[in-house]
């Protein structure tokens, strides 16, 4: 966490999403009249160049498996081949004879952790002013900015999230200074020289939005709109109205001057870009839901959602995910009504439940945060098994990011994004032993050579140290 109270506010302010374009699809635009030769705007001008590293045919056997979708296999085995999950099963499944075989006795195997809310890269370490790239806090709505243009791939935080947290994919969001902070990006947690080299292939883009204290404080402090919560909504609605008009023009095949801000919002209205909305208070989330209906978009996920427990039934009915901390509270007024049972109460209501970090430290132990939340639930009679609680860490965030068909669980054919833990991952005494991403071994606690060291840390004290 960034040091000091100011730091925590800054961290809370900052949120954003960047995603990879879902496809190379292009948007038709047009001339003044219904176009015969519509202008095409490239929807994926910074395409992913990520490719999985060489993956060996690998078997882990005798291991306890949480499959990420709520299933558990004791004394289980997994076969990974060509970067994919080939199959999982009990001791009786057929195993290849030419594979690298790892004995998982006493260990646990899960899908990689997916953090839906991170600022690695756009608020990297060291957190010096020159690195402060998460909030384009010069206008309350900046849907035209893309967080991928801020992400510094050399952030040492990526390696900590991998080695200590078993994080294999993560969404990097713009901050929450703005009502509309910009596009997010989803990354594979594999080091690269370029951000394109980390972009999760085929992940949809997200739009970071923020309600509540941060936008009104930032812009009210500058003496401009919005300075109140009602101002927040007024600016949002005016902007959505403009976006709806822009989209209609495009849909009607009329000429538009390309507007990068409107292009993002039109993408949201078309359902191609997912809304990730920083929002703490229950009453504000309810208002945002109505605003989304007013303009015809859908909120994928409320982030932080400290008061989600107060409207868990509404969130379940609307099919909106809540990405939450286990126990953060008290740092600001809208985080005052936090309860330790928020996560289990949302789960109990049948709403989509996600554990997130928003923090370069806590991303290293999201499994521990889930464990605390689960324990709090058990004390009030909400019994959640280990394997179901894991859905909060991989499958649910994958769904909310639009990548659940590719990763987030150990179903055959999905990316082999896998963590082998040296014990039960819901224990404080457990750490990742091995992490595979697309079947390639990217971290091995027993092999210092399988430990990424960013350019920034080369030649510095502690280079290559355990972290």
């Amino acid at each position: 966490m960034i040091r000091g109270v100011k730091g925590s506010l800054l961290a809370a302010v900052s949120l954003a999403l960047v995603g990879c374009a879902a496809s190379n699809g292009e948007t038709a635009s047009a001339g003044d009249k219904p176009a015969e030769k519509p202008v095409k705007f490239n929807k994926d001008p910074y395409p992913s160049t990520y490719k999985g590293y060489p993956a060996r045919l690998t078997v882990v056997k005798g291991v306890t498996i949480f499959d990420g979708e709520g299933g558990r296999i004791d004394n289980g085995s997994i076969v990974m081949t060509s970067g994919k999950v080939d199959r999982i099963g009990g001791p009786d499944i057929e195993l290849p004879t030419d594979a690298d075989v790892i004995d998982g006795t006493g260990k646990f195997l899960t899908p990689g952790v997916i953090d839906i809310h991170s600022h690695l890269g756009d608020y990297p370490s060291p957190s010096v002013e020159a690195h402060s790239d998460g909030n384009e806090a010069t206008s309350p709505t900046t849907p035209e900015v893309w967080s991928e243009h801020s992400v510094w791939p050399q952030d040492p935080g990526f390696s900590r999230a991998l080695a200590n947290g078993g994080v294999t994919s993560l969404q990097i969001l713009p901050g929450s200074a703005n009502l509309m902070g910009g596009r997010s990006i989803t990354l594979k947690n594999v080091p690269s020289r370029t951000v394109q080299g980390m972009k999760f292939p085929g992940a949809p883009y997200g739009l970071k939005m923020a309600c509540g204290e941060n936008p009104k404080r930032v812009y009210g402090g500058k003496g401009r709109m919005p300075s109140t919560r009602m101002g927040n909504f007024a600016v949002n609605r005016a902007t959505w109205q403009k976006a709806a008009a822009y989209k209609k023009k495009m849909d009607d095949g009329k000429a538009v001057d390309r507007d990068l801000a409107m292009e993002t919002l039109a993408g949201v209205l078309a359902g191609e870009i997912l809304v990730h909305n920083h929002c703490y208070r229950a009453d504000e989330m309810a208002l945002v839901i109505d605003m989304s209906k007013e303009f015809g978009y859908k909120v994928s996920t409320f982030h932080h959602a400290v008061e989600a427990y107060k409207i868990a039934d509404i969130l379940a009915k609307e099919g909106i995910c809540s990405a939450m901390w286990a126990d953060w509270w008290g740092f600001k007024m809208e985080a005052y009504d936090s309860v330790n049972e928020n996560i289990p109460l949302v789960y109990k209501a049948g709403a989509c439940t996600i554990v997130h970090s928003d923090d370069a430290n806590q991303i290293q132990r999201l499994n521990q945060e889930a464990a605390k939340a689960r324990a709090a639930g058990r004390r009030i009679g909400i019994d959640v098994s280990d394997e179901v609680a894991w859905t909060w860490l991989s499958y649910n965030p994958a769904k909310a990011l639009g990548i659940a068909d590719k990763t987030g669980s150990l179903k055959p054919g999905k990316m082999a994004d896998v963590v082998l833990w040296n014990g039960n991952p819901f224990s404080a005494y457990t750490r990742p032993e091995k992490v595979w991403i697309d079947g390639a071994l990217m971290f091995d606690a027993n092999d210092p050579k399988r430990r990424p060291v960013s350019d920034f840390e080369l030649g510095q004290p502690g280079e290559g140290d355990v972290k």
Partner: protein
Amino acid sequence: MMRALLLSAAALIALPAAAQDVAIVNAKLVIGDGSAPIDGGTVVVRGGKVVAAGAGVAVPAGVERVDAQGRYVTPGIVAAFSRVGLTEVDAVSGTNDRSAPRTRFSAGLDIAPALNPMGSPVAVNRASGVTRAIVAPASSSNLFAGQGAVVDLADDMDMVTRPRALQYVAFGEDGSAKAGGSRAATFLLFREQLLAARSYARNPATLAEWGNDAMIQRADADALVRVIDGTTPLFVRVDRAADIVNVIKLKGEFPALKLVLVGVTEGWLVARDIAAAKVPVLVSPLTDLPSSFEQLGATQSNAGRLKAAGVDVSVGVFDDDDAHKMGYATQYAGNLVGLARVPGASGMTWDQAFASISSVPARAVGMEGSIGSLRPGHAGDVVIWDHDPLELGSRPTAIWIDGKAQSLTTRQDRLRDRYATPQEGALPKAYDR
């Protein structure tokens, strides 16, 4: 079923109890001094103090018996470095007494009258097993932040265990910003202020002679005199290895200084220097990011390596979490146990890790004889836990502070109970309590 359970929990809200004599029997008893847990242990508290703890301890006649049913019984957690009681909502400035950005005073500030025992962070931290805390002011515009206190987290109005228990100063980048922009300015300002205080101690009239040119106020001088003579421990926030070495060297000039280093992110690089100087440290052990250029060597093995070098290492919860989430101390200590199993990493044994959040911080602040362990004569701060206290999600089921049974119910619990079923019933939620 769940609703009934919640209601009964709410009904347990207790008024502050009087000190009682109590014996907790059939405990997995953790003394807190680094020794191994004792199965079938008993701890006896009389007159607010521990009178006996161990195996085969007899329960005196007339003393209430509480059967721990084999669960962990420990001393309460001592928060090694905290702002509990100084803030309610960090971003609501009227509730926030951590620092005084516009005061002309510095070392003379005393947090005692700023503490609010009725604040919800006191109850929330208590419910997570924290019974005592070392509370320091945060530095603001001046180099010296002022005098902290050792406090208890009991549900009564008397929070201060020991006032003026420490003086706090930040070196490194924070100190530079206050002293004028460089580390050179920090060390010079530090030295000059102490020397001014010493002159004042020898001849109080000097301060009047300096008039408006005085670099410190009388109250500040009074406080610094107690730092110079070792009466008040000096807690120094410092992270960079070179800064640590230079701070330790200050003892050459001011030999009675009782230094305690806080943060110490790169301490492992100079562990032998710290051990040789016999200076205790308070660390936030999971700090592993190069968040600044004075933390480039950050690693979670810092605490374990310092401990192995012979340094007294207390584990705390610093920075943004320092007022509301003191309960993270047990999680952090548990992580040190886990680290001991990671190839190439350094951690602690369970017994060491527990001591690092109980008796070791008590010793750092000079209160090893009175809090932080269940040895006879220590305060009757006792916690019964539902599970291994260093494991995730473990919670106290009963707490005594100075022998008084404490409420474990918080404002958060009330909110949770109100919304256990989120829909409104026959009346709005506002009527549901």
